[in-house]
């Protein structure tokens, strides 16, 4: 799949933003006034920035409102509904925390649930696609949810759970790579089933339909950079999980140094997740590539 920057930015930032909103909704950290304002500004900035980025790849962004209508069948539509719901509910909850010094607990819980539901619906957009075996696995929602929770815990400064959530996210990442590498092979789809000619002999793509490229090849067959996949996996794993874990577990004294370490952990995690997300797209093989003798 073509790793479109808009989609990578969207899933990375909004995952982190909604992760933070989840913790804020649960009252973690318990902040009010100006401090709460800063936390909510970061959370809304990430979540909304991500959502805005996702409209950049649309052919007709001005019609995007129509995407809220088909929640009965479409995960993309459900994502839109959940995202707007989460932002509205958490916006109200933030008003209470920032300006009225009060926690509307029930509203916070609903907002937290909607935030997590947004991340889940995002993941299901990819998971539902049988055409991309590497995404069509239970581990795909696990990746999105565990990353979002780990990033959210890091940003929220939830010191008790952040190390555990980071470790879980790292483990899910390794499992996803291990299983994903075999996904296309075990899916049973190959050029034989694609053409229906497989029981006659070995099928080989002899001549493509045209000498130039096309939308399908540009969108679904991305081979550039796959050769560096193993190195990038190392980068993603170290930056995303190992280094942040090390930074938050290092015992340091002092308010400033502690915040510097936490900020570094967040930035490192963000860079790692973005790298992982790039691989998520770049390494995903769409079965239509088979028709072109590619993957």
């Amino acid at each position: 799949m073509h790793p479109a920057p808009s989609v990578i930015i969207f899933t990375t930032l909004s995952g982190l933003g909604f992760g933070l909103l989840f913790f804020l909704g649960l009252g973690q950290p318990a902040v009010t006034g100006t401090v709460a304002f800063v936390f909510y500004a970061i959370a809304f900035g990430l979540a909304c920035g991500g959502l805005l980025a996702s409209t950049f790849h649309l052919g007709h962004p001005e019609r995007a409102w129509r995407a809220f209508t088909q929640w009965k069948t479409s995960w993309l539509s459900r994502e839109g509904v959940c995202a707007v719901g989460a932002l509205i509910v958490m916006g109200l909850y933030a008003l209470g925390a920032v300006f009225m010094d009060s926690y509307w607990t029930l509203l916070g819980w609903i907002g937290a649930a909607l935030s997590l539901a947004t991340v889940f619906t995002t993941s299901m957009i990819y998971t539902q696609l049988k055409t991309i075996p590497r995404w069509n696995m239970e581990l795909t929602p696990a990746i999105f949810l565990s990353f979002s929770l780990a990033g959210g815990a890091l940003l929220a400064g939830a010191e008790s759970v952040a190390p555990w959530l980071l470790a879980i996210a790292g483990a899910v990442q390794l499992a996803y790579w291990a299983k994903g590498d075999k996904a296309l092979e075990t899916s049973g789809t190959n050029l034989g089933t694609a053409t229906g000619l497989g029981d006659r002999g070995a099928v080989r793509a002899f001549e493509p339909p045209h000498t130039g490229s096309n939308y399908l090849l540009r969108e679904f067959v991305h081979v550039v950079g796959r050769k560096h996949a193993q190195k990038l996996r190392m980068v993603a794993f170290i930056l995303g999980f190992a280094l942040p874990l090390l930074l938050i577990l290092t015992p340091v004294q002092g308010f400033v140094i502690k915040h510097v370490f936490a900020a570094l952990a967040v930035l490192s995690h963000l860079a790692g997740v973005a790298t992982s997300r790039w691989l998520f797209f770049a390494q995903a093989e769409h079965v239509v590539g088979l028709y072109y003798g590619k993957r």
Binding site: M1, H57, L58, G59, H60, P61, R63, A64, R66, A67, F68, T69, Q70, K72, T73, S74, W75, L76, S77, G80, I125, Q128, L129, K130, T131, I132, S187, G188, T189, L191, T193, A194, T195, G196, L197, R200, G201, A202, V203, R204, A205, F206, E207, P208, P209, H210, G212, S213, N214, Y215, L216, E219, F220, H286, V287, V288, Y291, Y292
Partner: protein, 254 residues
Amino acid sequence: MTELPNSTDRKMGLVIDLDTCVGCHACVISCKGWNTENYGAPLSDQNPYGGDPSGTFLNRVHSYEVQPANGHAQLIHFPKSCLHCEDAPCVTVCPTGASYKRAEDGIVLVNEDHCIGCGLCAWSCPYGARELDLAEGVMKKCTLCVDRIYNENLPEVDRIPSCVRTCPAGARHFGDLGDPGSDVSKLVAERGGMDLMPEMGTKPVNKYLPPRPKDQIEEQIDILAPLLAPVAEEPQGFMGWLDKALDKLPGGAN
């Protein structure tokens, strides 16, 4: 709405004969010609006369080589367009309701005024039947020439999809695959029509007729060949002397 109809009154679709297709690409051209100036937005080209031309097509012809365990390799031309699936994933993933399947004839269409060009329907299609038009920013796909097949302004003979009308080899057939008595259904039953990627669970309406078995080429197929065989394998007499003399010249025998 992007909910699929429980059933459709008819299942209009194509039957493509892989035995007969000669790979001339006439269906590709006639499809582009008809559909660029009729239903919906034109099928744009990008840089058509430059170094890296590309464009939107609703029908493309691949060619595959099949090498059986025994015998000769076979070349099979393979036209591919929307299969108008009964369980079309491209319809249910659409967030706006632009993508829909008609209850009356099963044709899968895009309402281009509602399409936001997110591309998710193309992601969900295993066959590469949908292409996002770069000039228009909306999804394009085969309409089964919905603007021809019911068009009473056209002579009756032309009320079939453009690709079917054009095919010079008679490799493309159009009809109701939901009616077991239709010509296309009989053809599918007779020739063992098949689905592409049945494991995807899309239940395509369009069927492909597999190539008929080929004759086996025997050792000696030309009865005149033995009479034309060289009389002497090694040159004799003057030709023999000349052959040896030339071998001895600098440059040697090769």
